[in-house]
């Protein structure tokens, strides 16, 4: 049971954490994130990094789709732009990773703006398919522009480096990826307690009224596209450093669907939802494999039988969650929390 705190100033009232309980929880979370790589197996570490990358990209897509209401199936394409930028720069210039990542974000943002241009007229699912078109073009460019992208072969790159330090292992990459993910979340959180974020939500809820109330639609839609693709570009750049190889097939359409699913299953227009969704989509297939591992000793043929089963279960989980709670995991989380807040006094 928590008791509300009285606020002295508006600043305190608008802070991200409005109670000391929340601050303690957050500090604890940071501590866990920090300790994690020292305790986790290489596999868990790898998954941690993957989730981190997914969180960045999902948060980006959430800004665009969840908060601004512009459904996009182009996220994988934008990530590809980021990944190729990093790969090309690190091969051809040897710049350190902060520079290459920034460049990846910016180039992806520029492409995002280009793709967003029709969004003033094209809406809803039509827009979603238009962004799908963008990702088809991007894939085409990745595959065919050989001198720059290495064609179907793709590009292999050196590990990320800074001040002579090389980030070769997953352990090292973790310390790039996770801080960036946290930063990305903070940025988004700030965004939605200020002017620009409110404008995004307004456009999502009622675009025409928003315009009459003083929000230039095209400018803000493009801004949302830019920011979202910036996040995607960073995530793509990290992806490149993480796997150290980039090919056109690294960014298939199914990846865009993956991120859209993460946003929706997590809870559209909810940052925590994005995090939960990214973790869910990344980890559940892995977790399901534990089932197979449990069964194999008893039944050697289990892997063959179980893999279609896992596909069925995974699909059923998505369907089931959405039927049970169409507003996503974030809403389920909120319910759980409310339960504990009221806990001793629940009837």
């Amino acid at each position: 049971m928590r008791i509300g705190d009285a606020k002295q100033t508006y600043l305190a009232d608008e802070a991200i954490w409005t109670s000391s309980t929340q601050k303690i929880w957050f500090a604890l979370l940071l501590a866990v994130l920090l300790a994690f790589p020292f305790m986790a197996s290489s596999y868990l570490l790898y998954l941690g990094c993957l989730v981190g990358i997914a969180v960045i990209s999902t948060t980006g897509l959430n800004i665009l789709t969840g908060y601004t209401g512009l459904i996009s199936l182009g996220q994988a394409g934008f990530m590809g732009v980021g990944a190729y930028t990093v790969a090309w720069l690190s091969l051809n210039t040897g710049l350190p990773f902060p520079v290459t990542l920034l460049a990846a974000g910016l180039l992806a943002a520029a492409v995002g703006v280009l793709v967003g241009l029709p969004s003033l007229r094209v809406k809803g699912l039509y827009l979603a398919i238009a962004t799908l078109a963008a990702s088809v073009f991007l894939h085409f460019i990745f595959a065919e522009w050989e001198p720059v992208t290495g064609g179907m072969e793709g590009l292999s790159l050196e590990p990320a480096h800074l001040f002579g330090l090389e980030f070769r292992s997953d352990f090292a990459m973790y310390f790039i990826i996770v801080p960036l993910a946290v930063l990305a979340l903070f940025g988004a959180k700030n965004l939605f307690r200020t002017r620009v974020g409110r404008a995004f939500i307004a456009i999502r809820d009622r675009d025409i009224s928003a315009e009459i109330l003083g929000i230039p639609l095209l400018k803000y839609k493009l801004m949302s596209f830019a920011l979202s693709s910036f996040y995607a570009g960073i995530a793509g750049g990290l992806f490149a450093y993480f796997y150290r190889v980039v090919t056109p097939e690294s960014f298939p359409l199914s990846m865009s669907i993956f991120y859209l699913a993460a946003v929706i299953v997590g809870g559209m227009g909810n940052l925590l939802g994005g995090v939960l969704g990214a973790a869910f989509m990344t980890l559940v297939p892995e977790a399901l494999k534990l089932l197979t591992a449990v069964m194999t000793p008893i039944w050697p043929n289990a892997p063959v039988f179980m893999s279609p089963m896992l596909e069925i279960i995974f699909g059923a989980l998505i369907v089931g969650f959405l039927i049970f709670e169409p507003h996503g995991l974030a809403e389920i989380w909120r319910r759980v929390r409310r339960f504990f807040h009221l806990w001793p006094f629940r009837s």
Partner: protein
């Protein structure tokens, strides 16, 4: 047995686009491991085979590798795709403790500088094209060479050998009269067939497919009255083609480095394989080429590990790569019909087989071809 086990790992595509092969790869690897343990393992070390399903997705394959290599003391590993082999290369190179091979015959993997610890359990795709083209050349004569068309899928897999293949064709004086790229899998190819109708190649080489659209090309081109000879590379030369196409498959040719399960060839290892397959699943009958590939993979691993241990060395990546490179005129006990020698981390050997539809199987039409 109290010696430490030797661990074979694998990222195996039991679901997804490549599942049709993955299931048999898995069976081949499993059966070989069981057989080997029945023989007493490797120098008394038992062998364990640890795998995970990947759905043929690179990130899941990588996850499986991290998980397995984290939990086990891995010696060798089976990778399910070219993408995975490339993605994991940096890590494998740094680990210097695992030797890797797998389902990919990608040409790039024979680049020893970039992929020092990865090998190909057969010829790479370019070498397969080489073998096919050599066969085609042998059917013509100076100045009157047959013409050929390449049909391949718009994927990394599909495009892999095309440049090299064209270069090799030019060397042999074979004209490539048409080149067709399609999406993989279920597509309508009527328009492409129309192009073939004009190009009139003597040979069509398919690459990057399993079944469709090979059947459509063959049926439609024959309907048009063309008497083209159709050929394909490893993954396009399974018995599946006969099972699914029936009579229409007659005369189709494939390049295959291993003997087919139901071929008339024999040999101690091939017999052992058949016996083990029969034992593990009496119902299954014929075992596809994926099974042979899995089995052969594990055979090579065993040979490499054994050579390394015999030399009194640790199972590091470098030592195992060295042991692999030392394989020369190796008798595979009938899996491959002639003694084989490793070159650039691959086994550049193969044979052309032809479908006899009424018998329902492939029959050899060439000698074993060992590229040098």
């Amino acid at each position: 047995q109290d010696k430490d086990p030797i661990v074979f790992g694998g990222s195996i595509p039991l679901s997804g686009v490549f599942a049709f092969a993955g299931i048999h790869l898995h069976a081949g690897l499993t059966d070989y491991t069981n057989w080997l343990n029945d023989q007493g393992g490797i120098n008394g070390h038992p062998v364990e085979y640890v795998m995970e399903d990947t759905a043929y997705e690179v990130d899941r394959s990588v996850a499986a590798f991290k998980k397995i290599s984290g939990n086990e003391n891995l010696a060798t590993y089976y990778g399910d795709s070219t993408g995975f082999m490339k993605a994991i290369a940096a890590e494998v190179n740094e680990m210097n403790s695992v030797l890797m091979s797998g389902a990919s015959f990608a040409t790039a993997l024979t680049n020893n500088e970039q992929y020092p610890y990865q090998f190909i359990p057969g010829p790479n795709y370019s070498q397969m094209f080489g073998i096919i083209l050599e066969y085609i050349a042998s059917q013509g004569e100076e100045g009157d060479m047959p013409t050929v068309a390449f049909v391949y899928s718009d994927t990394e897999f599909g495009k892999d050998p095309i440049e090299n293949g064209k270069a090799r064709a030019a060397e042999l004086g074979i004209e490539v009269v048409e080149e067709i790229v399609t999406k993989p899998g279920s597509v309508d190819v009527s328009a492409e067939v129309l192009k073939m109708r004009r190009a009139r190649p003597d040979y069509v080489v398919f690459h990057g497919y399993v079944l469709s659209p090979i059947n459509e090309f063959m049926v439609q081109m024959r309907q048009m009255g063309l008497d083209t000879q159709f050929m394909g590379t490893f993954w396009s030369s399974d018995k599946l083609i006969i099972d699914k196409m029936g009579e229409d498959a007659d005369g189709y040719m494939g390049v295959m480095p291993y003997n087919y399960y139901d071929s008339e060839e024999g040999g101690p290892m091939l017999d052992a394989l058949r016996a083990q397959a029969e034992k593990s699943d009496p119902e299954a009958g014929y075992r596809p080429t994926g099974y042979m590939q899995g089995w052969f993979n594990a055979m090579v691993w065993t040979e490499v590990v054994k050579r390394t241990l015999d030399a009194g060395k640790e199972l590091t990546g470098d030592n195992m790569a060295e042991a692999l490179a030392s394989i020369k005129d190796w008798d595979t006990g009938g899996i491959i019909g002639i003694p084989v020698t490793v070159k650039d981390m691959s086994f550049p050997v193969g044979r052309i087989w032809r479908v006899n539809a009424s018998e329902g199987r492939y029959e050899p039409v060439s000698d074993w071809i060992h590229l040098d």
